[in-house]
Amino acid sequence: MTIVYEDHDDEAATDVPVRRIKFSINGKKMVAEVEPRLLLAHLIRRGLGLTGTHMGCDTTNCGACTVLVDGRAVKSCTMLAVQADGHEISTVEGLATASELHPLQEGFKEEHGLQCGFCTPGMMMAAKALLEANPDPTEEDVRWALSGNLCRCTGYQNIVKSVLWAAEKLRS
């Protein structure tokens, strides 16, 4: 799928190169036709309509747009969609099943890990990558792993508790 940007008459519209990419999103195989300059975050949000991935700072700082690419946390505002070719993308929409929340989502609910909720999808995806690599993290490990994600509400205390809650649930 190609995403259409507003035309500001400042660029030659002729000869716009479009590439076909194949990737999977939350386990579902997809094909898309993208302009090389399309960002992965825009493909996810505008192209696929998965608006759980948030755009915060748009400058690789805040981590709200964090998704997993082949299991590794990546800031999707800082990766080209065309680079997703052949890779597996997971977003926050892939966490819950039809009938139950993912333990991370439950943890954020139980421990009051969010206030405004804007950073939460990025926090949960970064935490998911951590728990897959390290199922029994210390508080320090959690803080370290989430140090690329900014939250302006919580002071982080309850986010850390939420992730530790999820870790315990996943281990039991």
Binding site: P17, P36, V74, C77, T78, L80, V82, W144, S147, N149
Partner: protein, 291 residues
Amino acid sequence: MFPSRFRYEAPRSLDEAISLMHNGGDYVKVLAGGQSLVPLMKLRFASPELVVDINNVPGLAYHRTDPDGSLHIGALCRHADLEHSDLLKTTQPTMASAAPLIADPIVRNRGTLVGSLCHADPQGDWASVVLALGGAVVARGPRGTRAIPLADFVTGPFQNVLDPDEIVVEAVIPAAKGIRSGGYLKLERRVGDFATVGVAVAVETTGENVTRAGIALTGVGGSTIGATAAADALVGRPLTVMSIGQAADLAAEVARPRTDHRGSAEYKRHMVRTFVQRILSRAEAAQERAA
């Protein structure tokens, strides 16, 4: 934000990548981790005509020690690979202490050491580390391969000596002449911010005496600063309170900090002195414990 239009190629071999660079027009950029290039393209500070994405080129993600003791870091070796590397933890104290301080954990998953060197940001951490270790980059182009010492590689802010059709395939750290010690210290306002001040110190000792030393400074000048006189003051004698103090003073002297929102010039110069002293004192204490 999104970048201006560009052509995109994702070659599957180095030869193909170099040929694309050679025939690609006036403004071609290599895309590896993209953690500096993509933000610059989004801000339209960089608007290349062609982007050559080397992520599909096999055999560049390595870091390994060769039989001669030199360390080689491929163009697709990510910061996170180096952060979790047992090889670095056991053989490269300065690199091992720098790796967890690069950007933030998510950026480290994609960004590369070689990309950071090529980007030549005066606030880039790896350039100081590699400079202090006397390292080099290996560039490959249509006219062959050449090694460029890092001291000659960076010419100014965001500028290096690469020809437009050359790609850096790896960074090389020469074998140690003695037992390595040292470290990297970085003052930052928060995780992921650019360094207010960064100091890399690499020392090699044989017996009691320092046989090689390198000191380099991040964020306190228009480019990475090699504090050669400071490093030379350490060589040929054991690490002592005297020699450490002398090196710290000499390093602070060559810093060219500017007052900005991260701190005053005076404060930054003071931190250079403190960091050199701190790293060397720790190295000295470790040596005493070992003796």
